[in-house]
Symmetry: D2
Subunit: 428 residues, 4 copies
């Protein structure tokens, strides 16, 4: 428990509960991520898909106020007007400020938002300490912590895009370490056809947390196939670019090709035109040939795979590969905030951390899927259309946020996430 | 063989080959569908997704010229300029006229296009007769016939939209019969979890035709579930509308709700605001309460299912239900061109014909999928992103075009196809 | 009186009135202009600013039905539904079909529209013959004839754009003569500062027809200036293009430069990229160096003038220059339908006909301006914002439609009209 | 000379020159206007037409660096990268950051921009003191001061729009006085036709400053007309709104009516729907019935005038009315920052200050107009298309910035400026 966390917890005779410690820890981590940002930096919204850091700080706090504290009758919100400002997309609880306008909110100020956070933290921790949160409220508190961890990653990807969009292209931090990766030859790991168990037990019926979209556990038939031992790296992807991959429609989905031409894609989002450097949270750096390629859209990942006469794995193939493997990898906790080469040994490496891996699976419901009950039913279910599943977490994901069953999802056009790919192949 | 077909075939001593007969039959059917249209009607393009009837007539003909006749060295095209005009989306063989501009082509005239058809028919049939088409050319000829049948259905759905877009809202034909459907109670048919064989053998390796996207045959695990005995009907869907289904975000996918509001959807595309009549290819008619609801987008079908506490079936659940069933139903051959109630008896009815059934399956490749070789690889594969699978054919699909393994696909926003739904449910 | 006109007039003992003859003449001329077009050609709407020829034929007829025939109580319209279809922009008399959708109207057919024309002509001529049109109805009939003449020119410019938009780029007529122009050196004609009378007396208070926007006659102070003896020709304009005029922002209005870049203008609308040929109503032709440059937007005309260290004339400077000059020039009556070089002699030539001349005058009301009374007040007044005045008529304008006081107007971005320019200069 | 100004001036034996004092005064005023804003407030760009306050602070400073300091050979800019960021639209000196992205610049910070200002001020004042600025540089310095005063007004109108766009709608300042206006009956002042001198002598040929667009002095014929003694007030305009003025197309220009419907205008921009309150720089306030109506687009001003059977004055009528009148009025110096009622007596009041008055004059060049020489030729000339002239200054204009010949200009759709109207009428 670090100093910031300890300071946040109530000073009482009884030791804080594990949930209180977890709450204080997650909340302190968000503040630490925002610490390098000025009030001005925290206001930038560089595109409608991204949100200002200040909004992330406020929205995650609003989540606890609305879904934990306000579940108690008579609760008086800190500022009733903020309910509208910091609701993201929960239509069942009222209208929300238009997403593309989030960057216009000079008020409330960053200071006010930080005070809002501190005040809500105090209220939540006091309620936990007093033991007067209903079971439902406690569940929603836990959900709120996972929710906040998602926003921690988004805060990083959004600020990266914001800084890159500024012609001055400043670094988010100048103290981020970079150690070049070692070469690791590409190898294929084959699996025969088999039935596997996919997903996580339904929470909170079962005590281990999982999002509704990971449940229920169900059986799936995974065909015979081969999976690459590691993600595609920068050097491999650069060859695709140099071979004219961005100028050849035959590698691309029709919709991806249209986008590629309209937006004049020529290489991954953060690469320079010379294909030698990339923009990172630590500023511009030389491209590490052996590190996983990153910030690809689904369309780019898919096109690359086709160029290799390979394909993206399904999410079931991916999840099946994790069986019996420890959930280790380069997550946000490593504080590098950029993907690097494999440090582990093994037949298949880097399934977790470094880069989210695009799968060929459209994001949809599992057999027997049920949304969370109540207003939080809007959390995941209504996005099960037009999005693709990514697996494994990234260098910007908190380690204890991820699970082997975790399903991230984005539109196939999204390029600003830490997303790369691992190849798969059919096996006769 | 009807008179038009017989007239088209070469008058020779030897009887025409089955392929020649099939060619003449399919080609004559397209002409018959276009017969009620004036040259002006045949020019209308009411939205970018639709094409003018004249373009359908020309494009399908161009397909035979380009992929059958022009495979022979030295072939002289009828008009080299038309190559550009009537290419749809085959980027590998050259640029194409912009799709949204197809309605601007007063030249070539309808007469010129009809002469183009006649001339190409003569050349194709002569080549068949002479036996000087390569095996590949013959395969592409067969593919061209299936291709033309797809455009027969599109010609109908596009002209329906065109006529509906004209404030005068004329009928395509005034001789189309309408016979009210009988009531058929909704019942559920349950299946246990099982492994099923899905798909069709690879053509032309195997001699039975199938599109590349239906292959290869592979095994899939279908979970325990229940399937409705018939499609949702107009009366049931009207209750959803009357219950405020188009004003309640909680039934909708997020993207669907945005669209519903932006475009002010209030009921299925061709219904009147009183929910009493619908626009058909035979003009405005009273809504038949027991006939399948039609012209829904995926978003509407999915929202309706959620309102019923049900869901859409997966395409595997749907295909599994066809096992052992004859491919019978109300297809275009019935010449009603509008869905009606079930005439067959049985535990599950109307799987084929009447309305395409939206499934919950995103359109993607089967394990081991390979596109057709060469330029025709663009036929299906590049659209496997952002589309949803529909199954079973409709009242506008030629009967001999359909297969149980047939996978139709459209964007989830598409409303102008003969598309409805059948409910499914998870079974514990 | 040609045969078509004579045939249209009622065969009665009394000779037809001059107004009846004029009516029959103008109406016959429109038909003659449409004669080279098939029903398909007559349906094309190549951009929202343009209308299909069929719509021009119908709308001008509707004008007489609505504003002449229907002024009599109890008038039964030929088809009440068409009122909505063929109203252009008269909001005070009811809603109108959306302009960009005019190209979707396969119904009514061209034949039906031609019958509509014939029937209305019979009714109008019968009413004239019977002498039972009110004075107001007779005024609106006269206005309707001028209105129809405007649409005659628009029919030509719209069909030219329609044919150019078709990749086959057919000719509207193949019998149009072209005779190369002789060189005429550019010379300047100076005028001292003076007060001039501008405009036309108010019609119908005064018996000579003029649009409301030309009235009342008023005095204007025209500063000392010089005017070019002739319009800018193709050779001169080509030098501007070759000197990089379309790549240098300094010659352009800010809004024009933005447009030039967005739409990638590189030369006048109908020129080829080699700057050697231009598309005409007679098809592609070699650019005549000495003929007036044509199909310029205001932005291009203005940029060219600035490049010459000159400017566009004001509409008052232009009108002042016409004093004492006969209204002669190459109008539509010459049946060349393309601008040519000067055939007249004189110190200033081609003020009338050949090309409309962009002026530097924004289109606004004259002092004391009043719109026509009643619904026709919408004819001109409501467009006095964001448009620029053009003067002098073109090779597509009927000769008896034009006046020295005539004010044509278009948005500064409009390129599809027969519009060129004449230079002016300040004189110290 | 206030304290801030005195502090800014170099402390030397010789008294500062009048130009130095003026420089220090203007620059200090900008800082004072920005003082109520936090760094976050100073970053908001609520629409592409508006700019963040920080950008105004930087751009005006850049103007002096680029057009005064950098005219000397070997000048080293403070930060060469900022040249791109803070260039507005001077294409002749290089590319500029895209206008709609100005709100994304968290870097440079407000502090850095303020240091930039201080550093440039020091350099400019030192150069002035040292007497080593060329005559041209001194001219551009003077122009820069007028330029900065324009941005002072824009800073106010932009921040007003920014605060209004925030759902919290904070006040810019809470100490702004509001004193209700007295009723002043509307009266008409007639003038006979006459020739007047319009405009200002060419600067710097003549020593008194004027923008290029105000020159040269020239004669204009002003027709007989009547002008209202005061601007239209809120009560009068409210009657127009209540009479359905925003729902009746006949009062509106065609383009204005389209905009009114598309953007659902129902009253002036900053009024509430109850027509009782308006948003001001001091927050929400009761509407003062006798104060001039404000924040109208040209379309609204013009529609109101038509509803009154009146019209907007031409800019010449307006300028003629100022003859012999002192340039007095409620300008920004009054520090009310909101229009109020007339305090002066006289036959015509409030020509200056309170609200800019829309004229019926399209913004164009005067006879003999020449742009400023060199790069600053882009200052005004290239906008002479599609804009309308406003006259007289507003409550947000610095008093010593205005002249009777001053021509402000905006697009007819612009609503966020302090713009109202004064009626005019034709006189027989």
């Amino acid at each position: 428990m670090n100093t910031a966390v300890a300071a946040a917890l109530p000073h009482t005779a009884a030791p804080p509960s594990p949930l209180a410690v977890r709450y204080a820890t997650v909340r302190a981590r968000t503040l630490a991520l925002a610490a390098p940002l000025s009030a001005e930096d925290a206001m930038v919204q560089s595109m409608p898909d991204a949100s200002p850091a200040k909004w992330h700080l406020a929205h995650t706090t609003w989540f606890f106020e609305r879904f934990v504290l306000a579940t108690r009758p008579g609760y008086a919100p800190i500022d009733a007007d903020w309910h509208y400002l910091f609701n993201s997309y929960y239509q069942s609880i009222g209208p929300a400020h238009a997403r593309p306008q989030r960057g216009l909110l000079s008020r409330p100020t960053l200071d006010e938002v930080l005070h809002f956070r501190a005040e809500i933290d105090q209220r939540v921790l006091a309620a936990l300490q007093a033991g007067n949160l209903s079971e439902q409220a406690q569940h929603q508190l836990l959900l709120g912590l996972h929710h906040e961890q998602q926003h921690q990653e988004l805060l990083l990807t959004d600020i990266k895009h914001a800084f890159w969009s500024n012609p001055l292209q400043p670094a988010y931090r100048t103290d981020l370490p970079a150690s070049p990766a070692r070469a690791l030859p590409l190898q294929w790991r084959s699996s025969p056809e088999r039935i596997v168990e996919i997903g996580a037990p339904v929470w909170p019926t079962q005590s281990t947390f999982a999002y509704d979209n990971e449940s229920p556990v169900h059986r799936a038939l995974v065909p015979a196939h081969a999976l690459a031992n590691r993600p595609v790296n920068n050097e491999e992807y650069r060859q695709f670019v140099q071979a004219g991959g961005y100028r050849e429609p035959r590698w691309w989905m029709s919709e991806g090709w249209t986008l590629c031409q309209e937006q004049q894609w020529q290489h991954p989002l953060y690469w320079d035109d010379a294909l030698e450097r990339e923009f990172t949270l630590g500023g511009w750096r030389a491209l590490d040939p052996h590190a996983p390629v990153c910030h690809l859209s689904y369309f780019e990942a898919d096109a690359y795979a086709r160029w290799c006469d390979a394909r993206l794995p399904t999410e079931f193939e991916w999840e099946a590969a994790t069986a019996g493997r420890a959930l280790r990898g380069r997550f946000a906790d490593a504080d590098q905030l950029h993907p690097g080469g494999a440090e582990e040994e093994g037949d298949i490496v880097q399934l977790f951390g470094d880069v989210w891996e695009w799968t060929s699976s459209a994001y949809g419901p599992y057999p027997g899927f049920r949304t969370f009950p109540g207003n939080l039913g809007e959390y995941n279910g209504k996005f099960m259309c037009g999005q693709w599943v990514l697996r494994g977490g990234s260098c910007a994901t908190p380690a204890d946020h991820l699970r082997a069953s975790y399903r991230n999802f984005f539109a196939p056009s999204a390029r600003w996430q830490f997303a790369g790919l691992r190849l798969a192949r059919d096996v006769a």
